[in-house]
Subunit: 127 residues, 2 copies
DNA sequence: TCATGTGGTCGACCTCCATCGAACAGTTTA
DNA sequence: TAAACTGTTCGATGGAGGTCGACCACATGA
């Protein structure tokens, strides 16, 4: 397998030191994520809804607050953090908003097929 | 996709009506399993250990009690039931024992890549 | 400076589920 | 019949995590 240098933190690109908020934005490369964490991340329906919405649009175009989710903003923030720690999404501060990107190629390399299953999911019914 | 006739309950093969215990052994075809149930099933480390052990041996050679698991027999029975209802394993009564088979081709067709991820998992560390 | 909008953090609550001991059921052998 | 073995079911328990309201931190614009 290809052990890449996980030091190329992509969120650091965009400034010498970044803002104070951005410095708290820690990312984990999918290659460093245990299978347990990856499965736990995608096992939640709200998080799968986030991933599906994110997959349908270009990178860095969706802020956290723009997702249609049946939970409050505290829970929403929690879910985004779980996805970030599982190597599934990447986040970047854009003014007061935090925009997202689905880490599809990296995650696919670490867990082949898993993200495809999530994105191909047929919504239960009716909705 | 190939919608196969899910009425070919394989556990019924082997007798006209089977024993009383066998009649309570209900199976679910992986094609009828929601993604949520499949993910929930493989998200548990004990169940993944069962799947990995099962994958290393021929079908119908491992009874439930022969698995090396860090849980009591009540919990063990629970986990096997979850795997059965998720379409991951097939069970058959052999005397007082209940032997198992990994439903690898059927499950792979319904959830491509998922079982591979589980079986390729590297045990956390040390051992 | 203030107001607004966005998102994170904290504490608490609550539900789900993994876990266990005990009792029960079925099979085999004596 | 009894004993031994295997596995299930039941009821209870504990912990992990999803959820919320409230408050806090940061960025923008007037």
């Amino acid at each position: 397998m290809s052990i890449r240098s996980r030091s190329d933190s992509p969120a650091d690109a965009g400034g010498p030191a970044g803002s104070a908020r951005a410095r708290n934005l820690t990312h984990v490369h999918p290659a460093d994520v245990p299978l347990q964490a990856a499965l736990d991340a995608v096992a939640d329906p709200v998080r799968r809804a986030i991933l599906c919405e994110l997959a349908g649009e270009p990178d860095w175009t969706r802020a956290c607050g723009t997702f249609d989710l049946p939970v409050g903003k505290a829970t929403r923030s929690h879910h985004f953090a779980v996805l970030r720690r599982a190597g599934l999404i990447e986040q970047r501060d854009a003014g007061p908003r935090r925009v997202n990107r689905l880490r599809r190629p990296e995650f696919d390399e670490a867990f082949p097929g898993l993200l495809d299953l999530v994105l191909k999911e047929t919504p239960p019914a009716g909705g």
